[in-house]
């Protein structure tokens, strides 16, 4: 009834925070898919990162070490997927789903002794000067450091993919692995590295939930964020810039939905919840440019 009770500054600020975990997980998956691998295990890697990050942060008292641990943990578990799909040539879809289930179970086991414990606090970073800009300051420059780390990773990925030789090789591997192989590039190694990067980013995204967003460990706490990250990669048509847009759109709808409810506006929640997915479908229909990498999800064997 009363839209004025929604404070736009606080709204956009919480939008950035709500979008960060899915942004982190999605940028990792984007690199993996650009290398031609479809890893549906994002959810499993996220939750593993969430629990490992939480355990490391609690036992060392340092959230930074927690995030580092989460990235390493996510990368390690992703290598299980890499080993199975790249060396043993198992089906990528089935292995990815298995990785999700495995991650959920493993994290529940590891987190047994950590339920109900609080994470060490991670103070917001108030960027000097910038955070004093009226309106823009509180929206964009008064967050915890991981919000900026996430955006920096996106920028780095964009530079890597579009402005570096290694990025060109990675894209070649993803577009046509046979051609890349014929040119003498090591397809498997490239993909294993991409998968590790994807795992590390998903781990960071998970740890953002357990260390900052919630902040505590509970079983199954990612609650589908990994799947949303997968959808955002498609929404972004595999481009880092649009990925940020997609993540903020998803994050924005989540926050907007709750804000509208609290303000007493009766739009059925179901419509708001489905709106980002409808947007994804619309974007895919409108932009035929959203072509997936040529070798996405296909198995590669040098002898074939």
């Amino acid at each position: 009834m009363d839209l004025t009770s929604i404070n736009p500054i606080l709204f956009f600020a919480s939008l950035m925070v709500a979008a960060t975990p899915i942004l982190l997980a999605a940028i990792g998956e984007l690199v993996v898919e650009r290398a031609g691998v479809l890893n549906l295990g994002v959810e499993g890697m996220m939750i593993t990162g969430a629990v490992i990050g939480f355990i490391v942060a609690v036992s060392t008292g340092s959230p930074w070490l927690g995030f580092l641990g989460a990235a390493v943990g996510g990368a390690l578990i992703s290598q299980v997927f890499g080993l199975l799909t790249q060396y043993l040539l198992s089906n990528q879809v089935a292995t990815g789903l298995a990785l999700t289930l495995f991650g959920l179970g493993l994290s529940a086991l590891m987190g047994q002794g950590y339920i109900g414990i609080k994470a060490p606090s991670f103070p917001d970073l108030h960027l000097p000067i910038l955070s004093d800009i009226p309106y823009l300051g509180p929206i964009a420059f008064q967050h915890d450091p991981m919000v900026y780390v996430g955006l920096l990773i996106v920028l780095a990925v964009w530079l890597f993919l579009n402005r570096s030789r290694a990025g060109l090789i990675l894209r070649a591997v993803g577009e046509n692995h046979d051609a890349a192989h014929a040119l003498g590039y090591n397809v498997r190694r490239t993909r294993m590295l991409a998968i590790a990067f994807g795992g590390a980013c998903a781990g960071l995204g998970g740890a953002y939930l357990s260390l900052l967003r919630v902040p505590q460990w509970t079983e199954g706490m990612t609650a589908g964020a990994g799947w949303i990250a997968l959808a955002i990669v498609v929404f972004a048509s595999w481009r880092p810039g649009r990925l940020v847009l997609g993540a903020y759109l998803f994050g924005g709808v989540t926050v907007l939905q709750l804000n509208l409810q609290a303000a007493g506006i009766a739009i059925p929640v179901e419509y708001l919840s489905m709106s980002p997915y409808l947007a994804t479908i619309a974007v895919l229909v409108i932009m035929s440019a959203g072509r997936s990498p040529g070798s996405l999800g296909k198995q590669f064997h040098a002898a074939r």
Binding site: M1, L10, I115, R213, T218, G220, M221, N259, Q261, A266
Partner: protein, 359 residues
């Protein structure tokens, strides 16, 4: 090859199955279906504490099994069927959304006893049980109305079902009684357990000015969000959540299922089990009010405890007229108290609450 494996597996399963049946003759097997993980720190945690109490009470005479994080829907039916096939004698299904699955499975296994929490459909082998959480909500509303300085109380609802709406109405009436300017902002999370979403809902409510947060969801995430915001009060839901005291958690509603579960298990062992409808509150001890912390002024604490005691001894009913419905029509006349039938099916807000209940 494949067929042989299948045959071998079937044979092995059959052997296991008969083994289980043979065992169930002398050991009473009790199954529990949980909606969240046992480590949620709230609703499911308390059910699991009660399960452990059953084990401690009967020792080797009872075997308990549980399945956690079971979605409300067809999956639940599969889990219950499996439990019944595995020889369970008594099965507790501990969430509202398991109602129809429990009814279906109970019809298929007439010899197995079923107990469904917070529902209203019964059968010869299906009992229902619930706690009068709204009695605890009255105490929460009483405290919340006096603690708030912004006069805005945020309420995180799970699903718009009678149990949750009752809680909102009860809390609102008792907050209004002590603070006529009170306003409730209600957010529906559409989940029982999703820490990230609950934390977001709490943050949104705090951003919109709420300085007391009541929750009807199961995780401790809103407590953590309130703690991070500072100067916001919360109440433990379903479990004590004492680790967040004395601030932001100033009190709690505790569900104590252990005495009920022990009594019902005993009834199955004695062969005296009958289909019943149990709805107990603060008096019989199924609902407990957690320690009211020092963050609450002494006189508020004293009056809250007096309210609790008057509800416990039955001298006061939280829904005592005059109470109007949201549209202004009369629900309860002066001095009249609500009957259980209306309360169980409650689908309206009381006068003063804003917004509509989602369909």
């Amino acid at each position: 090859m494949k067929r042989r494996t299948l045959l071998a597996t079937t044979a092995a399963l059959l052997a296991l199955g008969t083994g289980a049946f043979a065992q169930s003759d002398d050991v009473t097997k009790v199954g529990f279906v949980y909606v969240g993980p046992v480590g949620d720190g709230g609703w499911t945690y308390e059910h699991d504490q009660a399960r452990q109490a059953v084990e401690a009470e009967f020792g080797d005479a009872v075997e308990t099994v549980f399945v956690e994080s079971v979605p409300e829907g067809p999956d639940a039916e599969r889990v219950m069927t499996q439990m019944a096939l595995d020889g369970a004698d008594l099965i507790f299904t501990t969430s509202f959304g398991y109602m129809d699955p429990t009814v279906n499975v109970a019809a298929k296994f007439p010899d197995v006893k079923f107990e469904h929490a917070t529902g209203f459909k019964r059968a010869d082998n299906l009992s229902t049980y619930s706690a009068r959480f709204y009695e605890g909500r009255a105490v929460q509303g009483h405290i919340a109305g006096q603690l708030t300085e912004s006069n805005i109380v945020g309420y995180i609802g799970s699903y718009p079902i009678p149990e949750v709406i009752r809680g909102i109405n009860s809390a609102y009436l008792h907050a209004k009684e002590v603070n006529p300017d009170i306003e409730f902002k209600i957010v529906w999370a559409y989940t029982w357990f999703d820490p990230a979403k609950e934390a977001e809902a709490a943050s949104v409510l705090i951003e919109q000015g709420a300085d007391v947060i009541l929750q009807h969801t199961d995780s401790t995430a809103p407590q953590a969000a309130a703690q991070a915001a500072g100067n916001v009060y919360t109440f433990g839901q379903a479990s004590d959540m004492a680790e967040y005291g004395p601030m932001p958690r100033v009190s709690s509603i505790i569900d104590d299922w252990a005495p009920y579960y022990i009594a019902r298990t005993q009834a199955v062992m004695d062969g005296t089990w009958e289909s019943t409808d149990t709805w107990d509150g603060i008096g019989p001890g199924m609902v407990g009010i957690g320690e009211i912390s020092d963050a609450v002024p002494a006189e508020v604490k004293a009056s809250a405890e007096a309210l609790r005691d008057s509800i416990a001894e039955g001298s006061y009913h939280p829904f005592t007229g005059p109470i109007n419905k949201q549209d202004g029509s009369v629900w309860l006349a002066e001095g009249e108290t609500a009957d259980d039938g209306t309360l169980l099916g409650m689908n309206f807000y009381v006068e003063g609450l804003e917004g509509d209940i989602p369909e």
